[in-house]
């Protein structure tokens, strides 16, 4: 069962997949479903890490629990799959324990904004030196598709069988209001912009947040009559890139239009800078 058209990948004749050195290929195929957006966002993260020029030996990935939270398990770097919602405080300790490390948090919307919401806003407030990538698939994928704090109003999930009564968070707005110094949103279809954005976030100090919209065809998609390809079509047809848009305009409502772009990119002293300046008196 070999590809008839090309020689075997990785053989002497053929170069490896360009990310082969950064993935734990002994664990591939990963657990993500066909058409799941996580893999693409994860690949973009690895590409950005590589192209950013940072020292990969000093680079870590931290995840919480969830389908997106499995990311840490596939990157061939020091990687930590923690508890549900706690990736950010774990990452905070990791970074404070050794400020030389580049710490990237990759996790899901449920993990980072439902159970983990408090850690997010506090890390943003402190301007903690982390890059946080949230794969937002509008629901809890891993547990079978329950409502999340990002699920659109009236969308169907297993715990909102007649539609979600509540309104979702506007994540970039929340990040900005909490003090994040870099905030962006892309979809997995906007892979190149996403990759550039992650690269920028990784090289920038302070708290960076990137929301990545990606399909969960199996749970969210199935219950809301969206096949994976249809979701990607929505990403193309109903999005518009508007850098520096007003954060309060960034609701995710695909019945209207969803704004993508780089919304915040500002400077303020980071948590570590502040600590060093304030608490480590020179005397």
């Amino acid at each position: 069962m070999q590809a008839a058209t090309t020689p075997r990948a990785g053989s002497a004749l053929v170069p490896e997949h360009p990310l082969e050195d950064l993935i734990r290929s002994d664990r591939i195929p990963h657990i993500w479903c066909p058409g799941c957006g996580i893999g693409t966002a994860f690949a973009a993260t690895l590409t950005a890490m590589k192209s950013s020029g940072i020292d990969l030996h000093k680079t870590c990935m931290v995840s919480g629990i969830g389908c997106s939270g499995r990311a840490a398990g596939y990157v061939k770097l020091d990687s930590f799959h923690t508890t549900h919602g706690r990736a950010i405080p774990f990452a905070t300790g990791l970074k404070l324990g050794n400020p030389e490390l580049n710490v990237v948090v990759f996790s899901g919307d449920g993990d980072l904004f439902a159970i983990g919401g408090n850690h997010f806003i506090h890390a943003a407030r402190r301007n903690m030196d982390l890059t946080v990538i949230c794969l937002n698939n509008l629901n809890y994928g891993m547990t079978g598709g329950q409502v999340a704090a990002t699920t659109p109003h009236l969308a169907r999930t297993t715990t909102t069988p007649s539609g979600n009564p509540d309104a979702p968070f506007n994540l970039p707005l929340l990040a900005w209001a909490s003090g994040a110094t870099y905030v962006a949103r892309w979809t997995v279809l906007h892979t190149r912009e996403l990759t550039e954005s992650i690269q920028k976030a990784i090289t920038k100090s302070g708290f960076s947040f990137i929301e990545v919209l990606g399909p969960c065809p199996i749970n969210y998609g199935r219950r809301n009559r969206e096949k994976a390809l249809q979701t990607l079509k929505l990403y193309r047809e109903r999005t518009i890139i508007r850098n520096h848009a007003d954060p309060s305009d960034l609701d995710v409502d695909f019945t209207k239009q969803v704004i993508l772009g780089e919304f915040v990119d500002k400077e303020r002293p980071t948590c570590i800078e502040n600590y060093d300046k304030t608490c480590r008196l020179p005397e």
Binding site: I31, C67, G141, I218
Partner: protein, 191 residues
Amino acid sequence: MLEQITITGFGGQGVVLAGRILGQAAAIGDHRESTLVQSYGPESRGGACSAQVTIADDPIFFPYIQNPDILVCMSQSGYDKHYMTLKADGLLIVDQDLVKPVGGGEYFSVPCTRFAEELGNKMMANIIMVGFFTAITQTVSQAAARQTVAVSVPKGTEEKNLKAFDRGWEFAAATLKGRRHKAAGHIGVVA
């Protein structure tokens, strides 16, 4: 009488649903006792997954199956993991395109995934398998199985799924006929 059936495959193939249909058909349709335990991993799709259905005339204490009477395999990895557990005189049923049994034992096979794709939805492979299984093993009655399929699938898809069930049933009928036909000749890997 106690029958123990293990169904294995990938997550997403509907292995557990197939098991549930059989158990429910036996319990509600045929008024017997049944238990179904499932085993699956973290993956929503593609992980190893199995359903263990016990059907009996008396209450069932121990719902796990160590050595099934019937093993149904819808994936190669499921087969690889489970074929050693099948009873010596047990019955093996596989998806014809996805599973290549080793050794020379007898077994039944149905290209249920291919059939499902032909019927327009790969997700119905399990229902085809239920139809095939029912005809081959007669562990549950056709009426009970068909009826349970109808109430177990999403609303609006009943007709399609019954068609899938029938497709499996008919393929089994043809298989059995073919096998009776060849019975005088060699017995081995068939259909």
